[in-house]
């Protein structure tokens, strides 16, 4: 029989008993919808984790000093502090794949100001720190290049510090003393919340790196360097370039180990997203089981249908249908049923995802790929579970089939 006629016959017999067809396809509908929604929820969770990591900074590359090989004894990262502002300058001049670079001079101490005192983390950075760390100010302003050069005693407070020292007042313009050095507060950072490890990001004071080095520490070594690649796709090239620049700056011979350690955000992201990917796969496989159960439902109904339509099969055989014609007819029917169920399932999944996104806090993103996979899988289930009933129909003896009451 021609494809056009086959489809016509299949659709006709599906539409002849609408209610039953709908109930048969229901298993597939629910299965496909479940797979898509589960993966969408998984994707949503993954996106959340990725967003959290993105809040660390944009396309971040971090260079820590140390990890050199001294006389065969490998020292841990940070064992020898050898970064200076010169390194930062070198990177700023030579790197071409970076959006920006900043030194981080990390220290800590007691801060006095306003109504009390507070022990916090103090970081000396450069003017493009906000851009690199994906942060912004909630009020006031950030320090400028001029402040860097003049080692100005200005500070920007994290939300937690601002709340501790100035619970009732506006901290902008107020005086604080860090390790007895007076600083003027010029800005307050927007709250960032906890980081991935659970520490408070907002418990911090930011000041010009030069100021922190000269006026608080009296040294010339910086803790580490943070850089931001121009784009996520270039993060690996940018990192390689950074390594080259640093090796040159530190006069390392070929074959000599790096005296610094580089980590990029993509690596961190990968580690964190792997967990949520496992979760997604788990959810999808549970939903996949329901798809298979749906397929068994189709097989069940098709078997009943073959018995019910034994006479029809006999008639078709008696007017010259081949075994293969009957096989294909019943297969077409079960495939049509399962694909139609699959498509309805897709619509249902879009509906559920819409409701999730609009009315609940659960974010869900439908992946077009998974829609395609789920519908194809439904089709394959139609073939797989339709085959046995179809073969049973096709192998009927015409006389027996015609006599069947």
């Amino acid at each position: 029989m021609e494809a056009k006629n086959l489809l016509k016959v299949a659709l006709k017999s599906i539409l002849k008993s609408r209610m039953r067809s709908l109930l048969t396809a229901l298993g597939i509908i629910i299965g496909v919808a479940a797979v898509i929604v589960m993966v969408a929820i998984g994707n949503g969770a993954q996106k959340k984790v990725e967003d959290q990591i993105a809040s660390l900074g944009s396309n971040l590359i971090v260079i820590f000093p140390g990890s050199i090989n001294s006389g065969g004894v490998r020292m841990g990262a940070g064992s020898i502090n050898r970064f200076t502002m010169k390194d930062v300058e070198k990177i700023r001049e030579e790197a071409t794949l970076l959006k920006g670079v900043t030194p981080i001079v990390r220290t800590g101490g007691q801060v006095i100001g306003g109504s009390g005192n507070w022990n916090t983390r103090i970081e000396g950075v450069s003017t493009n720190y906000l851009e690199i760390s994906n942060w912004s100010l909630s009020s006031g302003e950030f320090f400028t290049e001029k402040d860097m050069i003049s080692r100005a005693k200005v500070a920007v407070l994290g939300k937690t510090v601002a709340d501790q020292l100035f619970p009732n007042d506006d901290p902008i313009g107020q005086q604080i003393r860090i390790r007895n050095v007076p600083f003027r507060v010029i800005g307050v950072l927007a709250p960032k919340g906890q980081n991935v490890m659970g520490a408070d990001n907002d418990d911090i004071i930011i000041a010009p790196a030069t100021t922190v080095l000269d006026r608080l520490l009296g040294g010339r070594y910086i803790s580490f360097i943070m850089a931001s690649a121009s784009s996520l796709s270039q993060i690996d090239q940018a990192q390689a370039q950074l390594v080259e620049i640093m090796r040159k700056a530190h006069n390392l011979n070929p074959g000599e180990d790096n005296d610094f350690t580089v980590r990029n955000q993509a690596e961190i992201t990968q580690a964190a997203t792997e967990t949520s990917q496992v979760l997604t796969i788990l959810l999808a496989s549970v939903a996949g089981v329901s798809l298979i159960v749906g397929g068994i439902g189709i097989m069940n109904i098709m078997l009943v249908s073959v018995t019910e339509r034994t006479r029809e099969i006999g008639i078709r055989l008696s007017v010259g249908a081949r075994t293969s014609d009957i096989l294909i007819q019943f297969l077409t029917e079960s495939i049509a049923l399962s694909i139609a169920g699959g498509l309805i399932g897709v619509l249902l999944a879009f509906g559920i995802t819409f409701i999730l996104n609009e009315y609940t806090s659960q974010a869900a993103y439908i992946n077009p790929q998974i829609v395609f996979i789920a519908v194809s899988f439904a089709g394959i289930i139609g073939i797989f579970f339709g085959f046995y009933p179809a073969r049973k129909a096709a192998n009927l003896n015409p006389i027996d089939a015609l006599r069947y009451e």
Binding site: M1, I315, R316, S318, V319, G320, A321, R322, S324, I399
Partner: protein
């Protein structure tokens, strides 16, 4: 038409069929030699259990013999594959059943088109047109979109006859075609068969009513799986004349 009279359409040689019911072998027909020429109109008669339906199924290529040979239109069917069997059913034979065997919830037109859908040779270009033509031939042109449940028994059987004609078969086989019909409708059906036979189509039918058998040209009687009588009908009846008689009787009754 290829089935010109004189040529052997059906030729069976020592044809036998045995069914096994459990361990018991039940012979249904035993070494039957039967020749039917093109253009004949043969009635096969016999009591139930005489093997006439088995013989029909074998002639109609719905079943395969246990032993013996069967030539249909010169083709030795014992050497055919399952698919070739299907093709023969499709192209050489039109089958009419006692119970009509039409597809339910399917229009008369689509029922008649059905064999054409399975014709891999695509001998007929426009199936719908051909189906309409044969429906016209059986006098149902005003019922083509009716489904079987909306038609009377006689009309359903005429749809079935139209279906058997649509593939331009060499042979029409009818297994008790009027078994479910009242006598007037039965005579109408026989009138149709006679008309088709006059147009050159070979017809073989099974009936157990002697009155109806007389509409044929030749009678083959079976008993216990063997042919016991095979003769040409001398006082053949013409269904059209019988119909007039019935109508006159009806008018007389009313008066």
């Amino acid at each position: 038409m290829e089935n010109a009279s004189g040529k052997n359409i059906i030729k069976t040689v020592d044809l036998s069929k045995t069914y096994s019911v459990g361990d018991v072998e039940v012979p249904a027909i035993k070494s039957i030699d039967l020749n039917i020429d093109g253009g004949e109109f043969v009635a096969i008669m016999g009591a139930s259990g005489s093997g006439k339906s088995t013989l029909m199924n074998l002639i109609g290529c719905l079943d395969t013999p246990t032993s013996g040979e069967y030539y249909l239109d010169g083709i030795n069917t014992s050497k055919l594959t399952k698919n070739e069997y299907a093709a023969i059913r499709n192209q050489k034979i039109g089958f009419v059943f006692q119970g009509y065997n039409l597809l339910a919830r399917t229009s008369a037109l689509e029922n008649v088109e059905l064999p054409l859908m399975y014709d891999r040779a695509h001998r007929i270009n426009n199936p719908a047109e051909k189906a309409l033509e044969v429906l016209r031939r059986v006098g149902l042109e005003d019922r083509i979109h009716h489904e079987p449940s909306q038609l009377s028994g006689g009309q359903q059987q005429r749809v079935a006859i139209a279906r058997s004609l649509v593939n331009e078969p060499s042979l029409i086989l009818a297994d008790e075609p009027t078994g479910n019909l009242d006598s007037k409708m039965s005579v109408e059906i026989f009138a149709l068969f006679q008309k088709l036979n006059d147009e050159g189509i070979t017809i073989v039918l099974v009936t157990h009513e002697r009155d109806f058998a007389k509409f044929a040209k030749r009678i083959v009687e079976l008993k216990d799986g063997r042919i016991i009588k095979d003769y040409m009908i001398k006082d053949r009846l013409y269904a059209q004349e019988e119909l007039f008689k019935i109508q006159e009787e009806e008018i007389a009754e009313e008066a």
